[in-house]
Amino acid sequence: MNLLESLKIHSSIELHLRTIWARAYVRFMATFRETSWALVETLLPVLGLSAYVFIYRAMRAAPEFTGYVILGGAMTAYWMNVLWSMASQFYWEKMNGQLEIFLLMPSSRMAILLGMALGGMFMSTLRAGSAFFIGLLIFRVKFSLESPFLFILAFLLTLTALYGLGMAFASLYLLWGREAWHLSNLFQEPIYLLSGFYFPVRALGVIVAAFASIIPATLGLDAMRQLMFPSTLYPLFLSVEYEILILGALSILFLGLASKALRTMEYLGKTTGTLSLRLQ
């Protein structure tokens, strides 16, 4: 490789890194400048998950079920963020005329999506973390992490696959146009059920759980629950190792799909002219 080529690669990497950071910066700033989320997105989820906690307690379910609900309730912040701030984002950018600006810039569209994803993860982690710790405190949940390393790995892979899915949706939503709004609504509640946000997914049966595993939150939640409550008697879905492997595969699949969907979306848009025209 000659000097010119290595310089080109270096400047290309620098461009992508700067793009990722700049796009993520918007969401970092939004987290600190619009602090109304602290009340709405921390206390309301805690109130929401409290209902499930009291149901489990009334049924005299094992104490770990309270932990399952708190973990699931906290993780809803990510799913909401993926649907409303990742998947729909390009569609909104198109509606306010900003998508064109992004498309005529030299930085890669994947870098823009990655920036959005990182910013979104940060934003949602503050929300999810707050809801999680408040939930643990209020309901005095005791847990013992069997392997912190595996827990962090499962958590990070869940986020990678989840946001990879959101990145792929971003292009697809753009192609589906105004249907996007309905799609987010359609995906929101059923996924809470299918992925077992408030109960172990195994309760739905092995076939439904296997089907629901295409949503990364399903396996991620199951793995993290197993690691938080290793002595549970309730059967969980797959072994943690398998779940982590599948989450890794899903991450690669969704990121690859996102990249392919972006290219297809851009090509179709440039051919038909619908990329830059609003309300189409």
Partner: protein, 335 residues
């Protein structure tokens, strides 16, 4: 040296679905061949739907041509789009750049990062641009608190953040009040004066704006370039005709009657705002014909408020080439 922008027999069609089974093909650009040299401020003048934005979108790599070729800075817009994007930028009227949560300075910084510009260079350039668009005092104001005019100024600054070699301005003053539009024109003039080697392609349907700013103008209608020259040369083409403006209260059938008078080449009418009067613009073979025109207006019961001999404008040029005013051309397209 190659041209900054070159199009060769460029065509673009859109397919529009009329019903579930029926599709209609619309020709947005038809055999457009243009050459714009480095350092030119080139105007593309035409009514809404003439094909100006389609041409800009092809040149900015946002749209693929259906036939023909287009080159920007010598690079093919289809095969070398990625290279072109480092050298260009675009500002469109009515677009919102950035996010309301960020301040003016942060917004410009964000866009500078999308071009891979280092912090030090970005800071210096943002300072210069903020001074140029007169937004220095608002640099810490959040974008969602800016007025429409200020947002467009910010958008202008965004369009120049990468120090582009070629800038595309697509109706940049659209929807702006008089003062903001003037500030935008001032910015363009200042920027081109400070960067004589750069090229600007400017589209507008405001004739006076094109006349004030552009070195050369191409008149486009229904996707075709009808004429291309300097504003002075374009106007010289209609100079041989005698041009008059009459402001009058006129009966509805007058237009037809006036066109029938011998020596009247063209008549266009514009309804005057806040009054029942009409402004008639007449192109006559010679000055003497005006006497017959005035006679006919009075004979038909019209009341003349004002009569003046005028110099040709770009509107006269457009009418002489297309045979219709901008408004009439737009309605023909819509129908």
């Amino acid at each position: 040296m190659f041209p900054s922008i070159q199009t060769v027999h460029l065509k673009r069609f859109y397919t529009k679905r009329r019903s579930k089974r029926e599709k209609e093909t619309i020709k947005a650009l038809d055999e457009v061949s243009l050459e714009i040299q480095p350092g030119e401020l080139f105007g593309l003048l035409g009514p809404n739907g003439a094909g100006k934005t389609t041409l800009i979108k092809i040149l900015t790599t946002l749209l693929l041509p259906s036939e023909g070729q287009a080159f920007v800075d010598g690079l093919d817009v289809v095969k070398q789009a990625a290279l072109i994007r480092h050298r260009i930028n675009m500002v469109s009227g009515g677009e919102h750049a950035g996010y309301g949560i960020l301040t003016v300075r942060e917004t410009l910084w964000m866009f500078s990062q999308f071009y891979g510009i280092s912090y030090a260079v970005a800071k210096k350039r943002i300072d210069e641009l903020l001074a140029l668009v007169e937004l220095k005092e608002e640099e810490k104001t959040r974008v969602n608190r800016l007025s429409t005019g200020m947002r467009q100024k910010l958008n202008f600054a965004r369009g120049f953040i990468n120090d582009p070699k070629i800038v595309f301005l697509d109706e940049p003053t659209l929807g702006l009040d008089v003062t903001s539009a003037m500030a935008c024109r001032k910015f363009i003039k200042r920027w081109i004066a400070e960067h004589p080697e750069k090229t600007v392609l400017f589209t507008t349907h405001y004739m006076a704006e094109a006349d004030e700013l552009c070195d050369r103008i191409a008149i486009i209608s229904h996707g075709k370039i009808l004429s291309c020259d300097t504003p002075a040369n374009l106007k010289r083409g209609v100079q041989k005709e005698a041009l008059f403006e009459i402001e009058a209260f006129t009966p509805d059938s007058l237009m037809e009657q006036l066109s029938e008078i011998q020596g009247v080449l063209r008549v266009s009418s514009h309804r005057q705002p806040h009054s029942s009067d009409t402004l008639l613009r007449l192109s006559l073979q010679e000055d003497a014909v005006i006497a017959r025109v005035l006679e006919r207006i009075t004979a038909m019961g019209g009341q003349i408020r004002l009569l003046r001999k005028t110099e040709p404008t770009l509107e006269d040029v457009f009418v002489s080439i297309v045979g219709r005013t901008f408004e009439e051309d737009e309605s023909v397209r819509e129908s």
